[in-house]
Amino acid sequence: MTDLKKLHDAILTGNAKAAGELTKEALAEGANPADLVANYMIPAMDEVGSLFEAEEYFVPELLLAGRAMKAALEYLRPLLAASGAKPSGKVVIGTVKGDLHDIGKNLVAAMLEGAGFEVTDLGTDVSPEKFVEAVKEKNANIVCLSALLTVTMPAMKTTLEALNAAGVRDRVKVMIGGAPVTDQYAREIGADSFSENASAAVATARRLVSE
């Protein structure tokens, strides 16, 4: 039998190759996909988040853990979908119009995916209309907006206005983040929350979907 603690550790240490192989092996031996995710993979990513908060892990370690999680999910996603397993929430994420920076956004996406959310990543330079379209199409309940630049922060407000105008604002929680973004700015533009980093974003998303 596959030692599933090794799957946990492969994600924790960012070993994508091992994470994929161990998942494949475990499934071949009849492991329950939902059990792998809930009891080994999500706890590993939670630990990654804790280590990041404690400044024992940094951006490279987060990226590596995210890749390992993704490698394991490649095998699990079709099985989870077929079994009708419900994600923690449905997230649409992107960097706002005019902004091409994506490291922070990618980290948040990876951590949310690692926490069991279904994540649709719209990429960078995403127009308000694209966010609206994706919310409708994916039936999302969380929208994450990222901006690195002071000159693109206003696009967060424009995106919120577009969600309002399209009549979908009430069915989503909007989280914002990025270097120049603050809690105060989130309040000013009517977003539901600001997150300081990828680990905090997971805690925020969990809180928002439980409200």
Binding site: L100, L149, V151
Partner: protein, 422 residues
């Protein structure tokens, strides 16, 4: 060749501050480097405000679209430093043969090889070395203000990475490039200002440079995330790159110094960002293993052979690295991002004020300068000067470049606050 004449007021002011002596007033830098500059659109507005000669402003740093601060504007702003950049810009062409170009309706001048195409969605695409037959290496979203790299990551075999692939843009400078630097330093050395040399080649893993927007077909690790991952998982590879880079850098510095002597006062070492808004990109232990030895090698050579002060840029929460930077021989840190965690001005001055010069920290460009009122700008500028200026070790600069769309009234509030301290 060493400058023997008595230093000007501006230069003396800088030298006093850099040597931790109280200068006659706080020295100021606006525009002497690619991290202490001003967006070309703001420069055009400032020139209008001051009633300076009307002409299109040169974009001297086309990646971030920073404009030239000419002597007349430098004096109007009270700036004491002049930059001497290398002639080649980030896109691999030279700053020469200026031609008109329009940036969101504003007429500016760009280098002759600034050749762009327009994507289907209206974005502006920049091509490396000005060659539009090569795939674009940077993109400026339609209606926005500067470029960002397009990641061009060729397939690589992780088991067979060759450090030479990541070293294509580094190497011994040509004799003509050294001649150009010598000529530019001579031309800039008018006895008025302190001179800030930025000749390239010393940056270790600067994430703005990793994608190599100057190369037509970059090899090795060029994806930003892949590079960060490599600093954790492929350290031997990174070490080999840095080792070779430093060999090149030391050779180039020696040849440059042989020509310009101590005509420059400050040298730009490296722009690698170690801090994020609330944390850092690596631990101090990793810094000490992966960067410190190479910085120390370069700093040791510079301090052993020149009078140049060494300038290190790192955004974000960087104070945790300052002890190591001091030990490596770094003299100046920039931009002193006081809005980041652990970067409170009072603590920085108390802990490092006698060992590091803070070149920056003057006003926040994330909130106060672009979005605050002129009064808020004035208050912050005066408070930061009150904290950082005593005993020297401070060169006033905004925290990183003045961004596009910054209200000119706020820039003037900053300048007037500085004047009120004279």
């Amino acid at each position: 060749m060493t400058t023997t004449q008595a230093p000007s007021k501006s230069r003396q002011r800088l030298l006093d501050a850099l040597n931790h002596r109280q200068p006659d007033r706080i020295p100021v830098d606006f525009g002497a480097s690619p991290v202490t500059g001003i967006h070309v659109s703001c420069i055009a507005e400032l020139r209008d405000h001051f009633g300076l000669d009307k002409h299109p402003v040169k974009v001297t740093e086309p990646f971030q679209m920073l404009g030239e601060v000419e002597d007349d504007l430098r004096d109007a702003l009270g700036s004491d430093v002049k930059g001497v950049p290398g002639r080649k810009v980030m896109f691999g062409f030279e700053n020469k043969n200026w031609k008109p170009w329009r940036l969101n309706g504003l007429e500016v001048l760009v280098p002759g090889d600034f050749n762009v195409t327009v994507a289907d969605n209206g974005d502006i695409l920049m091509h490396p070395q000005g060659d539009v037959t090569a795939p674009p290496s940077a993109r400026m979203p339609k209606g926005f203000h500067f470029f960002d790299a397009i990641i061009r990551q060729n397939h690589f075999d992780p088991e067979h990475l060759d450090p030479a692939d990541n070293l294509e843009e580094f190497g011994p400078m040509s004799d003509s490039a050294i001649d150009d630097i010598a000529a530019d330093v001579k031309a800039a050395n008018d006895g008025e200002y302190a001179l800030f040399g930025n000749f390239g080649g010393c940056a270790l893993g600067d994430i703005a440079l990793v994608p190599a927007v100057n190369l037509k077909d970059p090899r090795g690790i060029r994806d930003v995330a892949e590079w960060y991952v490599s600093t954790r998982s492929r350290r031997d590879y990174i070490h080999k790159i840095y080792e070779r880079q430093v060999e090149f850098a030391l050779g180039n510095l020696e040849r440059i110094h042989a020509r310009i002597g101590d005509s420059i006062d400050i040298i730009f070492l490296c722009g690698t960002d170690f801090g994020t808004q609330s944390s850092s990109f690596c631990s101090v232990a990793t810094f000490n293993e992966l960067w410190f030895p190479y910085y120390k090698q370069m700093c040791d050579w510079i301090h052993g052979h020149t009078s140049w002060k060494i300038f290190k840029h790192t955004c974000g929460s960087a104070a945790r690295f300052f002890d190591s930077m001091v030990d490596a021989g770094i003299d100046i840190v920039n931009p002193v991002q006081c809005s980041a965690v652990g970067m409170e001005p009072e603590q920085l001055k108390a802990k490092y004020g006698d060992r590091l010069t803070f070149w920056g920290g003057g006003v926040d460009t994330q909130q106060v300068l672009p979005f605050g009122t002129p009064e808020q700008v004035r208050e912050q500028v005066l408070r930061r000067c009150e904290i950082f200026a005593p005993g020297g070790g401070f060169v006033f600069n905004t925290i990183h470049n003045i961004q596009a769309e910054t209200p000119v009234a706020n820039i003037l509030a900053m300048v007037n606050a500085l004047r009120s301290l004279e």
